[in-house]
Amino acid sequence: MKFNKTIAAIMLATSSVAVSAQELDITVTNLTQGMHYTPFIVSAHTADVSLYKLGEAASTELQMMAEGGNIDGLDTMLMAANADIIKNPAAGLLAPSGSFTTTITLSDGNGYLSLASMLLPTNDGFAALNGWKVPTDDAGAYVPGTYKMNLNAYDAGTEANDEIINGAGAPGAAGIPAAPGMNAGSGATGVTTTEANQTIHVHRGNLGDDNLTGGKSDVDNTVHRWLNPVASVTVVVK
């Protein structure tokens, strides 16, 4: 009997290998009217990989992405975990109301999906999907279907939201790298110099002001604000 069970288990394992070259079509839409996204990183990985945890400090890799849009750190981290990775599927910035679709092929066992990108202009705001489990049936096979979800904007908690646009994007450097699109201001004195919550939390939004050449903020309060959700994700499991 034991022998039979082992054979059955091997057969099950074999059949799950057969369906493991699963393709997913992933569409991401920027739902905002005035915020841009830096190049996305999209990946499929195992259950024990996580880009971040709410309420905990950001990793250096996440900080690089959230403060400067640099996904190289997350890429290295995910490669070490044998993840399937797609870098920069939008071929550059994802403009307001824009969208991209990419196809990822899941290696065996990589049944969890993550993606992340920085919101511009912010100091360290980002949107992410963090380890979404691709639905499976009782036998472990992926369930074909179309799955839709909305993403909120988070704050990495690693940089004070001074809202000064000065080109700074390196981890720990104060300031916002850029405000693509319209109405980037200059000459602001800064909204704040401190970050009260240094763990990853829901972003409180940009404050902005109505002064393009001074005031507290270089961000335009009629253009660079948002409400959640800030992005939508549609996953098609074929």
Partner: protein
Amino acid sequence: MTSLNNLRKTSLSAAIAVSIALVGCGGGSDDPVVEEEVVVVPPAPTPVNYSYEVKVLNLTVAQPMSPLAVVLHNEGEFWKIGEAASVALENLAESGANTDFLADSMALASASGADLLMPGATETVTVTLVDTMPTSFTLATMLVNTNDAFAGITAKDISNLAVDESISLLTGSYDSGTEKNSELSATIPGPATGGMGEGFNEERDDVDVVSMHAGVVTIDDGLSQSVLTEEHRFDNPTLSITITRVE
């Protein structure tokens, strides 16, 4: 195949009816057989109503909603992120007028709310489609103390909704992208300006694509030209919607 089968059955029953009529006419008489045309009138089918009660609660502090526009349809979307708003949607989002929106060619049945839906208030609108089961549901309403914000949902799939079943939704707010969010007194039609601000204007001086709304800034939060105050701010969700199929 199904329609072909139906057609054959219909011809067959018509033929039977005709032959019975002929036998009836010729029964024991010397009169020549008069061929009468027999018209087979099928009994009129009882109309089937697909009826939905739509209960809507305004979740905002101080954003009355313009009369609700409720539409049943089988195809299309009434707006899409990243695409330009229709003129009917622009009108609804800038002025609150829903007449053109309800009359859209995609609409199979539609219904309007009675009046403004005030913050904290609930209204139930019933919409009924006869003989066709609708697959999609759309609801739109303007946040009237804004330039061009609207709330609701479009092309919600209701095809699996059985009688007495309901779907509950919390929905967010969109920006039609057709009017700059100046928050100037002259541009906002709601009670914040005593209804004095302009509603619909065919000029499109904003991004001209639909997106989620970023919220209002207000004079209390640093937009010095704004006629709005802190109480006009809102966050998502702005509406609670329950769709119940009653017939």
